[in-house]
Symmetry: C2
Subunit: 340 residues, 2 copies
């Protein structure tokens, strides 16, 4: 372990993702990444009786598959790090109860995917654990009903609104001879630009994404061109151009690299009209990263990828009390590892 | 860093608590530990207009004082790890926005105090950060209204009920020549024994406390007599005897050491009748540890102390949906460090 400047961890022992899995709902299965997911449920109920049980089922399923793909029993994994959007992260905690692996609950809203992965890599890199499982989950109907309105209410949404992904992604980090390398991670600061509208998450989160990217470039001495692809998650069609503009003001022209967003990759926003500005939710960056991006790296299409997962740290109560939306973004850099 | 058996981290570089602070409300100020706290508010409103703002003010205050006591500016601290009981840990996230220190949000309910401290010590021990701030907060009125009934409703409570502590504790971990040493940490598994009553947290959490203690003894090869004091937080008067009984069944008679509970230490449950079975909440183990216990170690009254912070990972929604209460406990061992 070596700290690479201010807020970036360089994982010198080169921990790898030795197994990962993604499970999604029907909307995600109809999107452009459908062939990248391990399992697609054909019903939004995920065969459960409540939305909350559905969300939990997703992470129970993805963690189970990730362990199978890593060729490990749960007894061989020392720590499980997980979080989600539900109050008191119940989806994660109930899944931890079922898994029985020592558990660290985390919360970073939609940045939870990279927060949990960064901590998993830190634990493995510092030899505090041989194998660590990281995961997160979200369900469209639990999140919409909790943070905005139940879908059944049928309220109209503004054009800045995003669509919470129904899906879960999980990954096992360890030392191994093959698998994608977790190269380094940049932990973000919380930014609050005063935006109060829970239907404009992309706009609220863009400054946090830009701030973490700037910190990452400063800490590592890299510039955008170092990466084949930089993806944020989830700024969608409203937030991504704002982040681009903010980075340009600070001297980083993102035309040096492919710069995209998990919320734009997961759906075809021109065809899947109901997603409006694009995807969001803990599951979005998790399934895009562990499903789509890792597969592209493993196929040799990409060598160096930076995922900057963004989170809007609002609660229904803070919105009701007229508070603004504090946001954070955590970045993890992935590298094609090859066989050692 | 060396993993000491299954789920225990041994911090070989001997990171220390180089500054800590506690602030509490009036009920805690009337309790037996009143002289141990840095600041006692004389009003339950904490000079704020909402209970949520009050809870946030507590952690803004404790983190500010912890930095002063550590003789550090916030710019010198690389990471801030915090969590609380509010939905989406808003008290912590808003305080992180004000502090501007790169932020890792965590959630372990009332075990958050030791979860955040264990991660802070891991980061310092693995040289991923020089100074890390860990903190947590709770307020009686925010927690009661969210998890049970608003106090203003005036409902009667059963004799197993606990009283959420109004208070916040924070600590800065780093390498230094003096200060209490953070020796090791045991990360707990989630246990669910089927208890569904949010007015019986102590009973629900006792098995998690016992499980983590057993894991700690197994991983470290220590027995209860190794410590001058073992405290759980917060089993209170109902849960502590259950934990004792469970440990006895597994061959550990806790009469070898002083075995107590943060929820029993913070109030005089015979005089302060409204606390019923004792204290609870994220702030309880935090203010007892960072206020009372560290002072006793620094005075030389205690040399080796183990704090086993317990958390009930329920949400109002999981209770309403008839789910049981998954529980977890994380243990951190403290050692008198002396001057090096």
């Amino acid at each position: 372990m070596k700290r690479q400047g201010g807020q970036t961890w360089k994982f010198e022992s080169r921990p790898r993702i030795i197994g990962s899995a993604t499970v999604v709902g029907p909307d995600e299965g109809e999107g452009p990444l459908s062939t990248d997911f391990d399992y697609i449920y054909d019903n939004i109920e995920i065969n459960e009786k409540t939305w909350e049980k559905a969300e939990r089922r997703l992470i129970e399923h993805s963690t189970e598959l990730a362990l199978i793909n890593a060729n490990l029993n749960k007894e061989e994994v020392q720590f499980y790090i997980s979080g989600d959007l539900m109050n008191q992260i119940i989806s994660s905690s109930f899944s931890a109860s079922k898994l029985g692996i020592p558990y660290l609950g985390v919360f970073g809203a939609c940045s939870t995917s990279m927060e949990s992965l960064a901590l998993a890599a830190l634990i493995v890199d510092s030899e505090a654990g041989d194998y660590v499982l990281a995961g997160t989950t979200s369900h469209n109907c639990t999140a919409e009903k909790q943070f905005r309105y139940p879908n059944e209410y049928g309220s109209q949404k503004p054009p800045t609104a995003q669509y919470t992904v129904t899906g879960s992604g999980a990954a096992v980090v360890g030392h191994a001879k093959s698998g994608t390398v977790v190269d380094c991670a940049t932990i973000g600061r919380v930014m609050d630009m005063g935006i109060k509208d829970p239907f404009n998450m992309g706009g609220a989160m863009a400054p946090a994404a830009a701030d973490t990217l700037l910190s990452h470039f400063r800490d590592t001495g890299r510039d955008p061109g170092y990466y084949d692809l930089i993806v944020t998650g989830d700024l969608a069609s409203v937030g991504l151009p704002i982040a681009k503009e903010l980075l340009k003001k600070d001297g980083y022209d993102m035309i040096q690299t492919e710069f995209n967003d998990c919320g734009l990759l997961i759906y075809d926003i021109n065809k899947q009209k109901k997603v409006i500005a694009g995807g969001s939710g803990c599951g979005c960056s998790a399934v895009v990263t562990y499903g789509h991006l890792l597969k592209r790296i493993e196929k040799g299409e990409l060598k160096k990828v930076l995922v900057v997962a963004t989170g809007a740290l609002l609660s229904p109560l803070s919105t009701q009390q007229g508070e603004s939306i504090p946001c954070v973004a955590h970045a993890v850099a992935f590298e094609a590892g090859g066989q050692v």
